[in-house]
Symmetry: C2
DNA sequence: CATGCATATATAGGACTGATATATGCTGGA
DNA sequence: TCCAGCATATATCAGTCCTATATATGCATG
């Protein structure tokens, strides 16, 4: 699913500028589904215009920079619906947060606690935003409502897990640090290279 | 969190070849955390070797192709632990599945049902694999166990949501298709552009 | 009054993915 | 028996995508 297809999808829901498309992937209805950056969106829109799948008109705005409003053409809609029928490639997740947490015993306890708290707050904020979106937009098409519900279920599970296991993780890591400190007084420091956790 | 850092993280858990590192991100302990491809892993290992953060020795294997076993050096471990302290960039998700589902009303009902069933089966298979991993590896370091638990909680929530809302979505989409068919008999087809899915 | 933020478009350089090439041995089906 | 396909294993390239930056304007906040 390349960025051209993502843009067509957003435009099938209504006209938008490149900036607005970006926002749809940041805080809009596609926030938890797919990421896309300016560096791919603007060239994608230009390419779509080149093959006649989107049309573009310039808008001069008061007290705002000019805007290019894009709309999907019939050709674009046809291409989009065809792409929708192809097999989805597997999901790709890239979470620095989880990767760092994997090595929790390498982190200072305060840093770890802050990391967890920040993430919990982030999930809660997302959930609130999605609730608002659901309340405002009660008549969303079935697919959109379903996907939003799934996002909420998953984020809720993540936030709950973090809250319920925060203390346990911090306790285990703290114990690890203590036993490592003890070990370092009795055995040479280079005896355990890879952090040899254990106790 | 670039691929070099990801490789260092895997190697901090034990020696591995490029191929084994890839597997760690596909079905291993990092499966639901981060994705990485051969095209980035092999150059990353080569670059790390160039700056002395990993060491490499060739292994001739019986009935298998030769293998390059990489191990992290003290310099590599130091660099890795320093990187761990930097702020994680926000998570990036790329889910073709959810994007397609967003436009469920553009899909034939059978296709939609198959999509949902496949995904439910995929989640259940992942959960089983993670259960096995947890059973085999009861003494995992605290961070690894925590992250695995979070993955399980999230995948379980996703699978449950799909199962519990599958029928409702299919019903709503079916109803949409019917009312659209009815409309097309009474009003001109080009009256609604962005819903013109038809069949 | 300055710094920063939101709106808005654009691009260059580098990072990463997906596909492909090469080589070997094993396994399951025709 | 033979062949196709799969798992193991490394490597590279073309194309895609992200990060950071540049530019411009108005508004808010200290």
């Amino acid at each position: 699913m390349d960025v051209k297809t993502l843009c067509l999808g957003v435009l099938s829901q209504g006209d938008a500028s490149g900036y607005e498309i970006k926002k749809a992937f940041e805080e809009g209805p596609f926030a938890h589904i797919h990421a896309a950056s300016f560096g791919s969106i603007y060239p994608a829109l230009e390419a779509l215009r080149g093959v006649g799948q989107v049309a573009c008109r310039q808008l001069s705005q008061d007290k705002r920079p000019d805007k290019k409003l894009f709309s999907i053409t019939e050709a674009g809609l046809a291409a989009f619906e065809k792409t929708l029928l192809s097999e989805p490639s597997p999901d790709k997740t890239r979470s620095d947060f989880l990767f760092i947490l994997f090595f929790a015993q390498h982190l200072p306890a305060e840093k770890l606690a802050r990391l967890l708290d920040q993430r919990i707050a982030w999930y809660r904020a997302c959930l609130e935003r999605m609730d608002d979106c659901a309340a405002q937009n009660g008549d969303a098409p079935p697919g959109a409502a379903f996907v939003r519900g799934m996002g909420q279920a998953v984020y809720r599970a993540a936030a709950d897990y973090l809250e319920q296991n925060r203390a346990h993780l911090l306790g285990r890591v703290e114990k690890d640090h203590q036993s490592r400190d003890r070990d370092q007084k009795t055995i040479p420091p280079h005896a355990s290279v890879s952090g040899a956790a254990a106790e």
